[in-house]
Symmetry: C2
Subunit: 169 residues, 2 copies
DNA sequence: CCATCAGAGTCCACAAAAAGGACTCAGGAC
DNA sequence: GTCCTGAGTCCTTTTTGTGGACTCTGATGG
């Protein structure tokens, strides 16, 4: 973001930063791996457990947290002549994590993969390879070099006003 | 990715998945926060420490890991008439994390923010707001609904061949 | 009606990692 | 020589994770 100016502190406080807030919900090794499996389609307790070889206590805690955050849902399901069981499908909020996760996958593809990519995206219509990139308002890709960050120094105040609009919002 | 087929296991093993490999390097709460500060421009040990209020032992360990991964660099710097000290700038590999991190920020903006965004991106040329999105090969934005995932079942084998090309690569 | 099975957990003992604070070490400046 | 600052290390306490056994529930089957 900066090239030679010495930055001593992040310009956005941890409490106001939507990135660090995201990390509070999903920024934990097991949570990230659970979400990876979930985005691949896994939904059931024992399937997560076997897929990731995660301790059952940890899985139980993480799933509860993800449900509380609204990223997953806890729901009963019933297979043919089976009794009712529980599954953990992603909500819209959870499915929206596909974009950052694919951006991260792309990063891994580039820097960690020997050039082999087990998972790629393609267009249903044209079959073209799809990637994640910066785009402008017309939906045209923009190179990283042409981008600058904008910090809104009043974000904290405006957030406070939004939360209790009685006091002047 | 799937809508009603029951998926029992991830189609890509943890060892082959470039997403889970990425998480091995950066998928830890403190590591993610250190990288956030680094992308904001922070570089020095005590600055990271104060910015994040991170225990010094943890910071020390994490920075060593990030240097070993090639995400950060450990380098001496010298200010005007000061003695030489150490800084931790991001490498190209580290700076490339801006894309997944901005994708994650966008997710936080949408789901966690009350609509307030302290950090946004804009085009240096046109001033337009920049966002992160799926794009096709011509650099045109594509909606999520038009995308499908493609799994390469031979990725594991091809990766092995790439790593020791003497045996037939 | 009793035993069995599978999914979805909980409980407990042990190990690893994080938190917090004091301490060290190096090299200029005073 | 003494002070100061940046960049760590060391040590103790607390928290979290790990791994395995155990529980609970409701269908199935003999």
């Amino acid at each position: 973001m900066k090239d030679d100016t010495p930055v001593r502190r992040s310009p956005v406080s941890l409490a106001d930063c939507n990135l660090s807030r995201s990390f509070e919900l999903v920024g934990d090794r097991w949570t990230l791996l659970i979400l990876r499996s979930a985005l691949y389609g896994v939904r059931r307790f024992d399937d997560f457990q076997a897929d990731l070889d995660i301790p059952r206590t940890v899985l139980s805690n993480r799933l509860a947290g993800l449900v509380e955050s609204g990223i997953m849902e806890k729901r009963a399901y019933r297979e043919e002549g089976q009794r009712s069981r529980v599954e953990y499908p992603l909500t819209d909020m959870g499915r929206a994590l596909m974009l950052p996760f694919m951006a991260m996958t792309q990063w891994g593809d580039k820097f960690l993969s020997d050039g082999v990519m087990p998972l790629t995206l393609r267009s249903r219509k044209t079959g073209e390879r799809i990637s994640v990139a910066y785009t402008d308002e017309q939906g045209r890709a923009v190179s990283f070099a042409d981008i600058e960050a904008v910090i809104d120094p009043d974000a904290r105040k405006r957030a406070a006003r939004k939360r209790k609009p009685a006091k002047g919002g």
